[in-house]
């Protein structure tokens, strides 16, 4: 799977994104308790873990929409949370993000959605914008759907349009938030192919947040397993598949019982059935 990565030969040693000792809590609930991660240039890095472990939160931290209570996140050498508002917006132009729902603007057409960042950030003439939009839409195979409204798209198509929009400004990286959730096998296959293809063709760095083990392992160069606010394990998909950690085995193979118990913590079954409330 790992053919030519344009970015790959660029300094393997200095990661594109550096996450160092990040702590974050929402209300009284601790989400991250000292997380370190590196995201290499030109690679697809996956973050996997059970639902509710704050994978989406991590993407928002990287995008600067949330602020960690301690620790630092550097993107392309800049500390995201020390940037001024203007600089942060400048940096975000280099980031694309694909939301779970697609987050398309519902009141304008597919074409206008993809054109939106171009019209907001550039002063290109309309004919040029049309060319660019059609190119991006063609890349995701939806050039023919340009006149549809977002409400007329299926979930998978909406995500592809959102992907076309995310690459409209030719970003350096794309963050995918649960790209495979709730997709039929065909759309899933399309998305898997697109993520790998775009990563290689555009020399992007990609971060995929997911709990779909099979699809994610098929495209990821490196995987972080996150649970309970910590990185449980990391390595290439092959390394993780052969890991001797029980927890990793349970997660990677989707077993019902293991270190994470099938039963939610409860009283003794027999006692409970006899109706003796403590």
């Amino acid at each position: 799977m790992l053919e030519h990565n344009r970015g790959a030969e660029l300094a393997e040693t200095t990661p594109f994104i550096k996450v160092r000792d990040v702590h974050f809590s929402r209300g009284s609930k601790l989400i991250f308790d000292g997380v370190d991660m590196d995201f290499q240039r030109g690679k697809v890095t996956a973050i996997m873990g059970p639902s509710g472990t704050g994978k989406t939160t991590l993407l928002k931290l990287i995008g600067g929409q949330l602020k960690p209570s301690s620790g630092s996140i550097e993107v392309d050498g800049q500390n995201v949370h020390q940037l001024k508002r203007k600089q942060l917006y400048q940096l975000r132009k280099k980031m694309g993000m694909l939301f779970q729902s697609g987050a398309l603007l519902t009141d304008i057409s597919v074409f206008d959605n993809v054109a939106f960042p171009l019209r907001e950030h550039t002063t290109l003439p309309e004919s040029m914008i049309r060319h660019l939009v059609l190119m991006k839409l063609n890349a995701v195979g939806l050039r023919g759907a340009r006149y549809l409204m977002p409400a007329e798209l299926s979930g998978g198509m909406a995500r592809r349009v959102a992907l076309a929009r995310a690459i409209a400004l030719d970003p350096m990286m794309i963050m995918y938030d649960e790209p495979f959730t709730g997709q039929d096998p065909i759309s899933m296959g399309v998305l898997v192919r697109l993520i790998r293809l775009l990563n290689n063709a555009l020399g992007l760095s990609s971060i995929v947040v997911s709990h779909d083990v099979k699809e994610t392992c098929a495209i990821a160069d490196y995987v972080y397993l996150v649970s309970a606010g910590k990185v449980m394990e990391h390595g290439s998909p092959e390394q993780l598949a052969n890991s001797d950690s029980e927890w990793s085995q349970q997660f990677m193979q989707g077993m019902a019982d293991g270190p994470v118990h099938f039963h939610y913590a409860a009283e003794d079954y027999a006692k409970d059935l006899l109706g003796i409330e403590s």
Partner: protein
């Protein structure tokens, strides 16, 4: 008792917190207004959904309110033999009070709730978050045009409401009840003062437009991004707007017309 006091304290703290957040949000919007003026297209689109779509409601309500005022006023005034004052009564009540207040209440129900629901749903479907990640400031792009559109539309709607209402009163008074047409208009012109009545009514409607749009946009922006949260925010918009309108109306009326 202690827990009751604690709860009271918690409620009032969260109230002040919301008020503070709302005020900061408002300041943010005000600073974003210049970016809307540079791009009038955004404003025009919002003027359509906020103003034009409320137009028919306002016209029909205004017409009927004016007609009812004329009918009710006629029976009271005719006891004093002062039917000629009907025009004054209709136009003074409309221009000073009912025009701004009823329009603002209808505006909160029609445009305010729609604004909250729209922005709340945009938040729930991650459109606002997505816009931020595309390096587009949602306050500039989404909130400020809507705020400005509300601020401009509300006085226009209130003026239309009053004007249509007076015409409705004219139909009933002159057309149906047979009051002298000349007297109807002449008395009105003699009694209604431009700066005292018309301008003060206009100021009221601008203030109401400001408060309703502010509440509506803030509630949407601050809504919990679930369908239930958006529903609640929409209800809050209408309820809080109504309270704010009536309270401000009392204060403004005391300041403007309370020349004791």
């Amino acid at each position: 008792m202690l827990s009751y006091l604690q709860r009271l304290g918690a409620v009032s703290i969260s109230m002040f917190e919301r008020l503070g957040r709302g005020s900061l949000f408002f300041v943010n919007i005000v600073f974003s207004v210049p970016s809307v003026i540079v791009r009038p297209r955004l404003l025009i689109a919002q003027m359509h959904s906020v103003g034009v779509l409320s137009f028919s409601l306002i016209v029909i309500s205004g017409l009927f309110v004016g007609m009812v005022l004329a009918l009710q006023g006629f029976y009271t005034l005719s006891d004093f033999g002062a039917e000629g004052m009907l025009g004054v009564m209709v136009s003074a009540s409309l221009i000073r009070e009912l025009g701004p207040v009823v329009t603002a209440l209808l505006f909160a129900g029609r445009a305010g709730s729609a604004l909250t629901a729209e922005i709340g749903l945009m938040k729930a479907t991650e459109q606002i978050s997505g816009m931020e990640m595309m390096a587009v400031d949602p306050v500039k792009r989404i909130m400020a045009p809507r705020f400005l559109a509300g601020l401009i539309s509300m006085p226009l709607l209130a003026t239309i409401f009053s004007a249509v209402g007076i015409v409705g009163g004219y139909f009933i008074g002159v057309g149906l009840l047979g009051i002298d047409e000349g007297g109807f208009w002449a008395q009105m012109q003699a009694k209604i003062d431009f700066s005292e009545d018309v301008m003060n009514g206009l100021i009221k409607s601008v203030v109401f437009g400001w408060v309703v749009t502010w509440i509506a946009i803030f509630e949407g922006y601050d809504a919990i991004p679930t369908s239930e949260g958006v529903g609640r925010a929409t209800t809050r918009t209408v309820v809080h707007s109504a309270f704010a309108i009536l309270l401000l109306d009392f204060i403004l009326t005391a300041l403007m017309f309370g020349d004791i």
